[in-house]
Each structure stands twice: as C-alpha cells, then as structure tokens.
Amino acid sequence: MAGEKKTFPPLRLAFVVQRYGEEVNGGAEYHCRLVAEHLAKHHRVEVLTSCAKDYITWHNELPADLSVVNGIPVRRFRVKRPRDTERFGRISQEVFRAPHREQDELRWLEEQGPYSPRLVRYLRKNRDRYDYFIFFSYRYYHSYHGVGALADRALLVPTAEKDEVVHLKIFKPFFLLPRAIVFNSIEERQMIWSVAESQELKGEVVGVGAEVPSRPSPEVFLRRHAIQDRYAIFIGRVDENKGCRQLFHFFRRYKEETGSALRLVLVGGKTMEILDHPAIYYAGFLSEEEKWSALAGAEFLIMPSELESLSMVTLEAWSLAKPVLANGLCDVLRGQCRRSNAGLYYTSYYEFREAVALLEEDRSLCEGLGRNGQRFYHDHYRWEVIEEKYNRLLEMLMNEDRAASAVRAPAPPGFFDRWRQRTS
C-alpha cells in the first residue's frame, strides 16, 4: 500500500484553515500544516487562512497578504470582527441549552469566529484557480460556508470531537456536502455517519503522521531540567478541558497511596494553575527537539483528555515505542489503544491507580506495549502511508470528474452554427 506511487499529474490544492503558521500550535492547525507541507511534494499547494493567531479572540495579528511559510504560499484574510465573548456566551447558552432555530446556530457560527466573509468571497470567486479545496475543522465559519459554496471540489477534514457542537442541526446536511471526508479515526467516522444519518459518505480514515527525529536524546532534557527519577509525561496544553485537573488529583492520590517514586512531567503551554506537588514538574513550552527528548526519556505518556478526534502526541509516543495511558472516556483514544494493543486506559481513579502501577512495575509489559505502538504507527501513520491515502482519495475524485466530463453532453449549437446548418 505504502509502496504505491502517485500516477497522476500534480493538482492545484488549496488548504483552508482557521489559523496557520509555525507559531500556531492548535491541534487541527498543526495537522493542516503538516499535511500541506507533505502534500506539497506531490502537488501545488496554497493555504488560505485568517490573519488571526489567537483562537479565542481571533484578533487580526498577521498582515492580510501573501506570505510563505516553510515553502508554502499562505494567503491571509482579515477577520471582520473579533469575538465578543459576552455575546458569544449568550448565544451559546441559547443554542446549546434552549429550543432554538437554525438561524440561531448560524449566528452562533458567526459569533464563534473567525468571521471572515472575505475569505469565503475569495473562495467563491477563485474556485477555478484550484482543483480541490481541503477544509480543516468543520465547526468554523470558513468551513461551513466554504464547503457550501464549493461542495463539488471540497474535501473536509472534520477533526470532530464528541461534543455538543457536532449535534447542531446545521451540521446534519453539511456533512453530506463535501466530495470526500478525511476522517481521523474510525470513531470519528462512526460519529459523523450517525450525525449525518448516512453511511454513504465518501472518504477514508487517514489521520496524520509525525516528524519523528532520528535520534532523540533524553539526556539533554534530563540534564537541563535536573530530573533523575523515572517519570510519566503529559504533552499538550495544560488545560481543564484536557482533563489536567483530574490528572493532578489522580496522580497526587496515587503517590499518597502507593509511595511510588514516579514523577509527572508536563510539557506545553498552560491555561490553569498547576497543582503544587513535589512530584509534578512543569517543564513549560519546549522546542520540538526538546519535546522529543522529553518524550524519549519518559516511561509512558498520559493522555487525560476526554475530547480528542486524534491525539497526535499519542502517535508520537508510539512512534518512539512508548506506551500510552489514555482517558477511557474518550472513544477515539480507547479505540486506538485497543486496536494497537499499545496503551491502557482508565475511566476511574481505581483503574488509573492499577494501570499506572502496572506500567511502573512491569517493564516487559511496558516494552511490549511500546513495540506494538511502534508497529501500529509504522503500519498506519508513517508519512508515506498518509500521503498515499490522500493521493488515492484525490485520484479517485479526479477520475470521477473526468468520467463525468466525458459523459456530459456536448453544448447545444449556438446561433451561427444553427444558421450555418440551415444555409448549408
């Protein structure tokens, strides 16, 4: 499968995403950047995005022009108005907690931001400049209206989580629109099938690869941060929505009950207070290289988030043969752990305690899980595999388009043709 080569000419692809850039660290945005950079090897890729950097305010922080990021042309469009948090909160209450109309949901979409009608206008006007448009994140204004305007050329990477947004009425017909959907996981596909009430949606479970360094050295990280004990690691935004509060309490209780010497290292930005405990160490936001070093030195990765469409950091851990302890309430993570046989999961403190103890004590289990993870990553998430899946999907759409244009009836004769026919 991965060995198959692309046999069709390069296409003009537009990636449409809410934010873009090396400094933007959101999951879907990073996912988009990686896919765009890898598909640029095969196609002519351009990115269409907003001028925003902050996903809460959507303030215009970057210039609205054409720039280049890692060799990819990026066209930015201004956000018409930043998010009014009070108004957004009010309409969210209305939409999620009270009877409402579809109009309210569309208003919610606008209020959520990034509200950039210019971007959508550009898409409408320049539809012929690109062969296909790949939209990232179903839940934003640009995707909803962009896919609506360019349904026959749109691919959607929904990055959908199991939250209440996906159940809004406007999204049921929306998921039927794009030519193909690039799912992140089997669970995500199942959820979207059930929302759209259709299993006929074209698409494939693809996901995303990781930029695995050839030799990450944990020593650098351990020396710099003066860590001597064995540690479990959490990588990502330290945020309540990521399940960090529960993780802190579980970990503290585990330490109190078992007297274990295990430490918890946190890597990433933070939006909440971190529990003050000698065994919990916050390393902060690290460079890619240092992040990989930290991961390489860990015993296992903890993924406490309940809402994930595909945890990239989980795949990164598996790529380094590190086992994962995931929140079992997240269908995607639980499914990935089961399919790969490379991670344990918990749904209560007791399961957390037993699983951590097992991973801490049983080295052969840890190594076996890690090996399985590495194999799973190699089979399904290597970049060659991901690129091949995207190319196969694009080729399928291209073949369909060609077949449709061949079948299409020739244009009826114009006035002069008819006049010529009559006179002859």
Partner: protein
C-alpha cells in the same frame, strides 16, 4: 481501506484491562474506606444526575415545552411588547428611553439573575425527574425483593415442616427397630410394602402366595373342594 487492528506479540490490552478490573474488584471485596464510600456515593449521584443515561422521552418532551412552564428571559425581554406593530414602536421607545432608566437603577444584574434562574429551573426539573426515575427503579427493585423474600419464606416454611415429618418418621423407625418383636415385624413386612402396590396388584400377590405353598398352591380349589 485497511482495518486498524494489530494483534501484537502476546499482549492483549483488553486482557490487561480485564486483569486490572479483576484486581480492583478483589480489593473492593474488603472494607471500603470512608473516602471510597463517599466516592461511590458521588458516582451514584452522578449517574442519577446524568439525564442522558435514562433516555427518557419525558425529559425531552418537558424540555421541548420549556416555554409553557418556564419563563424565558433574555437581554431583550424587558423591552418586548406583544401588541403587533404598535408593540414594535413601544419596544423602540423603551429602548430609546433605556439610558433614562439607567439613571435610576441598573436593570442588567436583574436580567442576568432571571436568566440564570430560568436555567436553574430547567436544571431542577431534570434533576427531580431523574430522582423520580431512580426512586421508581428502587421501588421496583424493592417490590421484586419483597416477592422473592415471600417466596423464600414459603420455601423455608415448607422445608421446616418436611424436616419435622422426616424427624418424626426416623424416631418412630428407631423405636420400631429397637423393640423385641422387631425381627418378626421385619419378616412380615418384607413380603410386600404396604405403601406401594406392585404392578399386577392382587393377582401377583396371589401367585406369590401360591408359590410359597408346597402343593403348587391352588387355594381356591381347596376352598371350593
């Protein structure tokens, strides 16, 4: 599309998870700590509070008719009027006069509080409904347990009386076997058992009697002759 399943080496995550659950169960067989009891109680309460678990049409219907029993209060409510076109003018006038109103008092917090109260009402309805559902389930379980208890009681009663009868029987048999005429009675009883007639009934008995007699046993002939 490739299916994502690897049965890697000899590790099966499901089996490991089953072991973990078994270990938890094993530990829970002992006494619970105060904290564990509290946590279990909380877990129970959580499940009661989670309306989605009951999948009840009642809640959905009740929520759908929210406006019939609950009041809706938004930032525009205080300006609204239900008098059609005139109402629109009134609303406009009220909005225009809002700054004047604000000179006397700030209606903002009142609106916020009422909005919150409407949310709370909705929440309490769900909560009460879920508690009612839980109570009903408990009642059903109680009724079921009562019925089972009654049946078990009847069985125990029957077994007790049977036991008593068997005890009496054993005592009487012991008395019978220990007496002086015991062997005579035993021999007499060995011919046939009084509580069970064999197939063939009286005819068989007569035949057996005849066999015991040395002359071939035509007792009837003797009697008649």
């Amino acid at each position: 599309m490739s299916t994502f399943s690897i049965k890697g080496s000899d590790i099966d995550v499901e089996a490991v998870m089953a072991t973990i659950r078994a270990r938890i169960e094993e530990k829970r067989k002992g006494l619970y700590t105060e904290e564990e009891v509290r946590e279990i109680a909380e877990m129970k309460l959580d499940s009661v509070l989670d309306a989605s678990q009951f999948n009840s049409d009642f809640v959905a219907a009740f929520r759908a008719r929210n406006e019939q029993w609950n009041f809706t209060f938004g930032p525009e409510t205080i300006y609204q009027s239900s008098r059609g076109f005139a109402g629109r003018l009134i609303r406009l006038a009220r909005r225009l006069l809002n700054p004047v109103l604000k000179l006397f008092f700030n209606p903002g917090p009142i609106g916020g509080a009422l909005e919150r109260q409407a949310d709370l009402n909705r929440y309490y309805v769900s909560l009460l409904h879920n508690m009612a559902v839980e109570l009903t389930k408990m009642n059903l379980e109680l009724t079921n347990l009562k019925a089972r208890l009654r049946a078990t009681g009847a069985k125990v009663e029957f077994q007790t009386s049977r036991e008593k009868v068997l005890e009496d029987l054993t005592v009487s048999r012991d008395e019978a076997t220990s007496g002086p005429e015991a062997s005579v009675r035993r021999r007499a009883r060995s011919g046939r058992r009084p509580w069970r007639r064999r197939r063939g009934g009286r005819e068989n008995d007569e035949k057996r009697q005849a066999e015991r007699k040395p002359n071939g046993g035509n007792s009837g002939g003797e009697k008649s002759g």
